[in-house]
Symmetry: C2
Subunit: 132 residues, 2 copies
């Protein structure tokens, strides 16, 4: 596995670091130089440069040159793709359809049961039959 990652993977991977998310958040309010981005961080400049490289490779930022500064700016396009992927699961978190309901539906379909739980939100239900 060299350095070839699909877009989604490198986008999510870039977003998986708090420092990088902070950088994007900062850039949402306008471009910033590397040192401006580094200032609030508790790490050295080279570390920040590396994070910027990750963001660049993911296509989430670009850098231009202005005198001795390399201002970075946000490119949100990859975020749209990430968003599109995640949105496919919206119904699951919205309808609390998270497997519990699936389980209950299944149960309802295959067995006859009486007490329906009042608020079936993310509670783990153990299939009664533990040991024989």
């Amino acid at each position: 596995m060299t350095t070839s990652q699909d877009n989604l993977s490198s986008t999510f991977s870039a977003l998986a670091d708090p420092t990088r998310r902070a950088i994007l958040t900062r850039l949402a309010s306008g471009e910033a130089s590397v040192s401006e981005l580094a200032k609030p961080m508790k790490m050295t400049m080279p570390a920040v440069t590396k994070h910027l490289k990750v963001l660049q490779r993911a296509g989430l930022i670009r850098q231009e040159r202005k005198a001795q500064f390399r201002p970075c700016y946000l490119v949100a396009q990859p975020l749209k793709e990430a968003s599109d992927w995640v949105e496919k699961y919206r119904r699951f978190w919205e309808q609390s359809l998270d497997r519990l309901d699936l389980y209950l539906r299944e149960l309802q379909a295959t067995e006859n049961f009486q007490k329906a739980p009042k608020k079936p939100t993310e509670v783990k239900v153990k299939k009664g039959r533990k040991k024989k």
Copy 2:
């Protein structure tokens, strides 16, 4: 940096792998055992088990026990948080506000310019003043 990651980080990190995204996609259509999940993958069972552990740690799946099977099911809650984070940038990709526009606004505010680009979508504009 031990093994303590904030939720968002571990969620994005879990989503950063195509195999794991495929697993979630598969689980969106109902629970599946580990071997069912492993079948279409070109890797060994232990590798799949590891991916499942990553997904579990991120809270994206849970596993129950049914005889000798460990069916996995989706828990979409963390995806909502990921979605919420990404959505904050929606205006950037929707309005194509991606720094180019910011730059143009800024330019418009500080200088007087004449030719407005027709479709200012993600084109790199070089600040004219290269050398003095």
